[in-house]
């Protein structure tokens, strides 16, 4: 780079400064500044490109939609109740009790019944043992 400025160059030389080059230590310290400041910034990259902008917006919308669907509380509870009731019914069927008896004896049957009772919870006052 030449600016054709002899007076400036001579003044710099008179002060012991090389007008055409910088010292190694100066270059190194400037390189450190550049390394720190020019490290890739994801948001800068996103804001720079139109495609990246739309893609990131789409990703955010999809993630939010999934989050709302997964956190739908009513549907979630209903599913759990269904699973529990299925499990309790299975535990109390004659065939399941017979299987428990053959595999682990009376202890296994008692365990299965108490597990079913825990799942069913306390008996309501308005229903008889026969109803249950």
């Amino acid at each position: 780079m030449d600016k054709n400025n002899k007076l400036a160059e001579k003044l710099l030389k008179a002060d012991g400064i090389d007008p055409a080059a910088t010292s190694e230590s100066e270059r190194l310290s400037f390189a450190k500044i550049l390394n720190r400041q020019l490290s890739p910034n994801i948001w800068r990259l996103v804001l720079k490109s139109q495609v990246a902008k739309f893609t990131s917006a789409a990703v955010i919308i999809i993630v939010l939609s999934f989050w709302f669907v997964l956190n739908d509380s009513c549907g979630h509870k209903q599913e759990i109740i269904t699973v529990n009731s299925k499990k309790t019914a299975e535990l109390m069927t004659l065939s399941s009790l017979r299987t428990a008896m053959s595999s682990g004896g009376i202890e296994a049957v008692e365990n299965q019944i108490s597990e079913a009772c825990i799942l069913l919870g306390p008996r309501p006052n308005n229903s008889s043992a026969q109803d249950l």
Binding site: M1, A8, L11, L12, A14, E26, I33, Q37
Partner: protein
């Protein structure tokens, strides 16, 4: 003209975050800024720190530079502010005295490259505000308008300050010659 266009291109590339462009800008301006900082703060032991601080600001803020043509003014203004920040941190800081704008009379002395050694030596003995405007004038060949923007005063003040600075410089050179 070609130089100005090239410099403008370098600045635009810097604003795009191109590392090579920053290195080119640094290679060109670092010696000049060093000379300027040394003239402002002759006894400064931490001029290297000031220069690093200047470049850190340049790298951080170059995107805010709206007109790439004004890069020299912008750089020297940052440099001046950094040097003055250093002055303010010192306990014995007093602001530079501002010279009254006096009517200009007589011819303005002309200096050439042949007398650069003597000119450099004489600069040291000038008043700080004379030394500053002459440094910008000699090193960057800035217009009065640009110098006014760097030092933050009116163009008339710059014109008269340069005139009296050059006269003081000629007297100092004559005194040194005996």
């Amino acid at each position: 003209m070609e130089f100005k266009k090239r410099l403008e291109n370098i600045v635009l590339r810097c604003q795009d975050g191109e590392r090579g462009a920053f290195e080119e800008l640094f290679e060109f301006y670092q010696p000049r800024l060093k000379y300027y900082v040394r003239r402002l703060d002759c006894d400064g032991a931490n001029n290297d720190d000031i220069l690093q601080d200047i470049w850190l600001t340049v790298v951080k803020q170059i995107r805010q530079l709206k007109d790439p043509k004004a890069v020299a003014v912008w750089l020297y203004r940052i440099a001046r502010n950094k040097v003055y920040d250093g002055f303010r941190r010192k306990e014995d800081f007093t602001a530079l005295p501002e010279e009254d704008e006096l009517p200009i009379s007589g011819d303005e002395p002309i200096f050439d490259a042949e007398t650069s050694e003597k000119l450099h030596a004489a600069l040291k003995n000038l008043k700080p505000y004379h030394r500053e405007v002459l440094t910008l004038c000699f090193i960057e060949q800035m217009s009065y308008q640009s110098i006014a923007e760097v030092i933050g005063c009116g163009i008339g003040t710059v014109r008269s300050r340069i005139f009296y600075a050059k006269q003081a410089l000629r007297k100092e050179m004559e005194r040194q010659n005996g």
